[in-house]
């Protein structure tokens, strides 16, 4: 009797372990900035991937090609540095053996890791703003967030027209991202009829901007542009500009950062700030995501987060359609074909062929908002065609 019980117990135990082994793990790498100035963006992206993973895991796993996969997000910090990103990418691709990466945040890091990821067929969903990140020679890289190239002209046209701005000053970090954005903005303001008259570059870690702001204010600018700066830096810029007595408009044409700016600069200094926001909290799908994020992480999410939630779900959908998680070439092809996908941002499709040579840029609506009493109030709705 005892032996039979023991044998039965052993069989059950073995059965349990083997059935566990049945469910495989799908690893998604989150190669994002988790420390330093860009941490707000990186965290938003990591949590977005985790929430998408939670969604499918709650249903018993991602079902692809008849098998169920438990999705696991593996996060690493690239500190917004290209060399760190390369180290981490090597780890993800060769040690952790991931084939899908959410991130990196920065332009310099994404350009640095592409030789590894493109060569090894690793699909990358990056935030990096540089136009060089996408191209027909980089079939595995996609970008789920709109960048300065997409949003700046429509927004700047609207802001210059409605606020009558003539001369603008701007500060940028002295790296690939900052320089790319500086070029884009100079062109955009020029086309809108204003002038980007004063431009300052600084090292990314800097916290004291008083001499630079003094210099810019000496040129008598009507507005200060904050695009390209990390949320924490933007907050310090707003705070120090207002402390120096700048009372012109402060504009941020891209890169959601409002919550951090208010945290650092205070509600009074942030009052009247004109910001780009990629999300409309009144949209039911977006509101649902915001609530989900708040419930799990108990902190305000960064505005880029929904893009990466949708990006992860797009990846899952592409895997389902391709019937495989291993063959990233097939997954990539299915991913490109997805159109009219209903995500947290609303309905999204791929675009970008005109600008980048390949449709790997997600086309999503965006908005110009004014900060009033610590909250964003949407003033204009935009697509790449224009704002109203």
């Amino acid at each position: 009797m005892k032996i039979r019980l023991l044998a039965a117990g052993l069989c059950l135990g073995l059965a349990a372990t083997t059935s566990h082994a049945q469910q495989e793990t799908l690893k998604i790498g989150a190669l994002v900035t988790l420390s330093g100035a860009g941490a707000a963006w990186g965290q938003g992206m990591q949590h977005a991937a985790e929430l998408a993973a939670d969604d499918v895991n709650a249903e018993g796993g991602l079902e692809v090609g008849g098998k169920r996969y438990k999705v696991e997000v593996i996060p690493y910090d690239d500190k917004y540095q290209a060399n760190e990103a390369v180290t981490v990418a090597n780890r993800l691709v060769f040690e952790d053996k991931v084939k899908y990466i959410i991130g990196p945040v920065g332009s310099a890091p994404v350009l640095a890791i592409q030789p590894i990821t493109e060569k090894n067929g690793v699909i990358v969903m990056t935030l990096g703003f540089t136009p060089k990140a996408l191209g027909p020679d980089k079939p595995y890289t996609f970008r789920p967030n709109v960048t300065t190239a997409e949003v700046s002209q429509p927004q700047i046209d609207w802001v210059v027209a409605t606020r009558g701005i003539k001369k603008v000053g701007a500060l940028f970090p002295n790296d690939e991202t900052g320089q790319a954005i500086a070029r884009d903005l100079k062109e955009a303001y020029g086309k809108a009829g204003a002038e980007l008259a004063a431009t300052e570059f600084f090292e990314r870690d800097r916290v004291d901007f008083v001499p630079l702001l003094t210099r810019i204010m000496a040129r008598r600018v009507d507005a200060i542009e904050l695009d390209g700066n990390s949320p924490a830096t933007a907050g310090l810029l707003v705070k120090q500009a207002r402390e120096l007595g700048f009372d012109g408009a402060i504009i941020r044409t891209g890169g959601p950062a409002t919550q951090d700016i208010i945290n650092v600069a205070g509600k009074d200094a942030a009052e009247g700030l004109l910001v780009h926001t990629p999300i409309d909290p009144s949209l039911p799908s977006t509101a649902a995501y915001i609530e989900k994020y708040d419930k799990k992480y108990k902190r305000a999410m960064n505005g880029f987060s929904p893009s990466f939630y949708d990006a992860t779900h797009l990846l899952f959908e592409a895997m389902r359609r391709a019937g495989t998680v291993e063959d990233t070439d097939r997954v990539r092809q299915e991913l490109e074909k997805i159109s009219g996908f209903k995500g947290a941002l609303g309905e999204v499709s791929w675009t970008g062929k005109d600008r980048y040579g390949t449709d790997h840029q997600l086309d999503a609506p965006f908005y110009v908002a004014e900060v009033k009493d610590g909250k964003e109030v949407i003033r204009a709705r935009c697509t790449s065609a224009g704002c109203k």
């Binding site: 420390s35 941490a39 600084f202 870690d205 001499p211 204010m217 008598r220 310090l236 120096l244 650092v264």
Partner: protein, 288 residues
């Protein structure tokens, strides 16, 4: 902007920033003077000072100045313990002492990262608005810091000049052997000197927390500036640090306002290199 006005504004900005640098550097040079140890963990005590003040003000609603003083006391005790536990074997071993402080810095920074996370936290401003001196603008928050640092420096000066403990610290800095012969107990002076040095770093951190944000990484940049100030002023010399701090602040402000930010950075380091070549012991340091 009127050129004279711009010049004046740059000067004012420079003096204000120079005082901030001085506050950071004075503790660093004191530790070197007392213990001949280059304390690479100075930055992390600055950071801990900022966190301490931030927590006291936001979690327990302690008034700002009281928070800074409490943080100073806590940092002094922590410094004492650290010196006694970690640095005692290295009291006469400069190189290994330096390496030990590098390790200490990493432990403190990553410990803070684990406890507080990487996000910059923002402290509510202590004072708002600006003061006008003619047409020149000085943000009140910075004025506050400058005044308080002057008070701290005055207190330090009185302590070192006129108190018995202060004089024993100075005696040890001048000549350890003779000081010991006079009965000054190095066992007490070393931890005290270290404690006060890092306590000053903590005060600097606490005072500057409302100005800039609070995160585990805020120590690195001021540390670099403190290093420059101390090297240019002379390792171990507090008046040297004062002079160098003001010079650095003003030079940086002028270069940043009239040239570009990158040029300003190059200029600062070029000056340091020039100083090291021409006068390696610094402006007011002792040739060693």
């Amino acid at each position: 902007m009127d050129f004279l006005l711009l010049l004046g504004q740059a000067l004012v900005n420079g003096v204000v920033v120079g005082m901030l640098y001085l506050l950071m550097a004075v503790g660093f040079t004191l530790v070197f003077g007392v213990m001949r140890v280059v304390n690479f963990a100075h930055a992390e005590f600055y950071m801990l000072g900022a966190f301490g003040t931030y927590l006291l003000v936001t979690q327990w609603q302690v008034p700002f100045l009281a928070s800074v003083l409490v943080t100073f006391a806590l940092a002094l005790c922590l410094g004492w313990v650290v010196e006694w536990l970690v640095l005692k074997p290295f009291r006469h071993d400069e190189l290994n002492g330096m390496i030990a402080t590098i390790g200490l810095a990493m432990i403190l920074q990553n410990g803070a990262l684990m406890i507080f996370g990487p996000d910059p936290q923002s402290m509510p401003a202590v004072v708002r608005g600006v003061t006008f001196v003619g047409d020149l603008v000085i943000p009140n928050s910075r004025l506050y810091v400058v005044m308080f640092s002057l008070a701290v420096l005055a207190a330090l000066w009185v302590f070192l000049r006129h108190s018995r403990t202060g004089r024993s610290i100075r005696a040890v800095v001048e000549d350890l052997e003779v000081a010991s012969a006079y009965g000054i107990r190095a066992r007490l002076v070393y931890p005290l000197g270290f404690g006060i040095g890092v306590g000053l770093a903590a005060i600097a951190g606490g005072l500057m927390a409302p100005l800039f944000s609070v995160s585990p990484f805020i120590g690195t940049a001021p540390m670099l500036k403190a290093f420059i100030v101390v090297i240019v002023g002379g390792l171990g010399s507090i008046p040297g640090a004062a002079l160098a701090g003001l010079l650095l602040g003003i030079a940086e402000s002028f270069a940043g306002t009239f040239l570009s930010s990158s040029t300003a950075e190059i200029l600062i380091f070029a000056l340091v290199i020039a100083m090291l070549v021409v006068r390696p012991s610094g402006l007011l340091g002792r040739p060693d």
